[in-house]
């Protein structure tokens, strides 16, 4: 029995109206494509922190990190620690991000063109958009399912609710671009953070630390605290998450767009170092919710759930648990917080992939266009991405672990783009042959994995011998090899030929 009442609904409605008004009001400041895509590079540190944190935390994040907590205990929060460490080190040293921001580009493929040529830029753009949109494809349905379980909403209204939400987000993103995204991200960061902290404190009070630890110990033993001794995780999983999160910090377009929108390189690096610890919270706070679910949900409660929820209790258990725990008022704050989290993620993701489509994929077909026409094209692209999300996002049937799906689809581009970026910045011998080979291998391996995982003939073999983390590590290794081999195979121009 959920505690969602008219008071909670009013809180949510108030929040939605305030966000829409703020997002739409700043459209008048958008005068150029640069304003639309990267806020005219006028973003300062604290707005950057709010925007980065809000963007990188959606309902889907809350669901998969809680799922990790439910399925693996504290050990499931290791990806957050890896990402925080990677973000701090990258921001502190300026590894790759300094040359990237100094280059004054709007997207990563734009930097690649300077080193590897226009074809690599185009191919990189395609891979980024493909990986990014597949990754984002599950956001809507998972977000809707969270709302259904937590608020007791009739599942028949899931599609229409998420459609209305996406349209609202699309309206202010289309009108105000990055400026609307930043302003709404700021509001969403505050609402989201208040909700996350309040719910976590309540959960810790309700369940208690000792009961939480005891539940993890009872279900997973030492493996619930130490991933290296967990039979389902192990060193491969930790290594893959370390590599994947470093790649994400370096090349995940929504993260990089904050760096590129920062007013200068030093500001961009400060945003990285000062937001880094948020990525521990991002995994551990919902992870605690997942572990509390493990401690609190009884077999009788689980048996009363719909069959779909019972079949994937690690994913849906957390919202079910929250629906019974949170009192009126706090329930409204939680739903508003989760909507805030989802809206900030959706708006940033739509704008980000749109910026790559406009800036890189359409670059060869784009003639000299006016700022006005450029803005119109960008707005149409964001709208088209919204339509794609509605079609793909609301019917894709997700099976298995959500984090695995996200990492595999993310690897489609993270592996090749990270290798390309490192080579572009620090390996003088890197060239377009190596870049092309890396992009091809980076896209083919994860797509092959996703296909083989679904085919009846190969499904059992893949599950037994090729876990997602091993496939991911293999992808990174093969991409690096392809970059080196391709670059070395290309004949170097002799002095006479060059002259």
């Amino acid at each position: 029995m959920t505690h969602f009442t008219w008071l909670d609904g009013s809180l949510v409605g108030l929040y939605l109206v305030a966000t829409m008004v703020a997002g739409i009001m700043v459209r008048k400041y958008v005068g150029k494509v640069e304003h639309f895509l990267i806020a005219g590079r006028e973003m300062n540190v604290y707005l950057g922190i709010a925007s980065l944190a809000a963007t990188e935390f959606g309902i889907v994040t809350c669901m998969y990190t809680a799922q990790n907590g439910y399925s693996f205990g504290f050990a499931g929060a290791i990806p957050g620690l890896c990402m925080a460490a990677a973000m701090f080190v990258v921001g502190w040293t300026g590894f790759c991000v300094k040359p990237l921001r100094d280059a004054g580009v709007m997207t990563i493929p734009e930097l690649f063109e300077r080193r590897f040529g226009p074809r690599v830029r185009w191919a990189a753009g395609v891979v980024i958009v493909l990986g990014g949109l597949l990754n984002m494809g599950v956001f809507l349905r998972i977000g809707g399912e969270f709302l259904v379980y937590v608020s007791g909403m009739n599942p028949r209204y899931l599609e229409i609710t998420m459609t209305v939400l996406l349209v609202a987000v699309a309206v202010y993103t289309i009108l105000g671009g990055m400026l609307s995204v930043l302003i709404t991200d700021y509001l969403q960061f505050i609402v989201m953070s208040v909700g996350l902290i309040a719910v976590t404190v309540l959960i810790l009070q309700h369940v208690g630390w000792d009961a939480l630890v005891a539940a993890v110990d009872r279900h997973y033993g030492a493996g619930g605290f130490n991933p290296f001794v967990n039979a389902k995780l192990g060193w491969e999983w930790v290594a893959f998450n370390a590599v994947l999160n470093l790649a994400a910090v370096l090349t995940w377009q929504t993260t990089i767009q904050r760096l590129l929108a920062a007013k200068d390189t030093a500001t961009g690096r400060k945003i990285y170092t000062r937001t880094s610890f948020f990525f521990v919270c991002r995994f551990l706070i919902p992870g605690v919710w997942g572990m509390a679910t493990l401690a609190a949900l009884t077999p009788a409660t689980i048996a009363a759930l719909p069959a779909a929820a019972q079949a994937n209790i690690s994913l849906y258990g957390m919202p079910v648990y929250l629906s019974t725990l949170l009192p009126t008022g706090l329930m409204g704050i939680l739903v508003a917080a989760m909507l805030a989290a989802d809206m900030s993620t959706d708006s940033s993701y739509m704008l980000t992939w749109g910026s790559v489509i406009y800036n890189d994929i359409l670059a060869p077909f784009r003639k000299q266009t006016s700022e006005k026409r450029g803005l119109l094209v960008n707005r149409c692209i964001v709208a088209a991405i919204g339509v794609f999300l509605l079609l793909y996002g609301l019917w894709y049937p997700l099976g298995g672990n959500l984090w695995d799906y996200l990492t595999v689809t993310g690897t489609i581009y993270l592996s090749s783009m990270a290798v390309l970026l490192i080579a572009c910045c620090y390996w003088p011998r890197a060239n377009n042959w190596g870049a092309a080979a890396a992009i091809a291998v980076g896209a083919m391996v994860p797509v092959a994995f996703l296909t083989l995982e679904k085919l009846p003939a190969t499904k059992a073999f893949i599950q037994a011998h090729l876990p997602a983390s091993r496939a991911g590590l293999a992808t990174f290794a093969l991409v690096a090899l392809a970059m080196v081999a391709g670059s070395l195979l290309k004949p170097q121009r002799t002095m006479s030929a060059a002259g």
């Binding site: 700043v26 006028e42 302003i183």
Partner: protein, 67 residues
């Protein structure tokens, strides 16, 4: 008193740090972020006005200091 034996102390400290750090940074960013927004919108307004008038916008304080 919470159990913090073995590896649990690490997770107890990390969880406590998350709650404390996140609460603090939320307040801090709420205040400082609002100032960043005001400054950003003022700068963009100046740029748009200057573009419309065909002149260069006035440099931001940080840029002035560098000069």
């Amino acid at each position: 008193m919470p159990s913090i034996d073995g590896t649990h102390w690490f997770w107890w400290l990390t969880t406590a740090a998350c709650v404390v750090w996140y609460s603090t940074i939320t307040l801090y960013v709420a205040v400082k972020g609002a100032k960043d927004i005001k400054h950003m919108l003022r700068r963009l307004q100046a740029i748009n006005t200057a573009d419309a008038a065909g002149t260069a916008p006035e440099a931001a304080p940080a840029e002035k200091a560098r000069k």
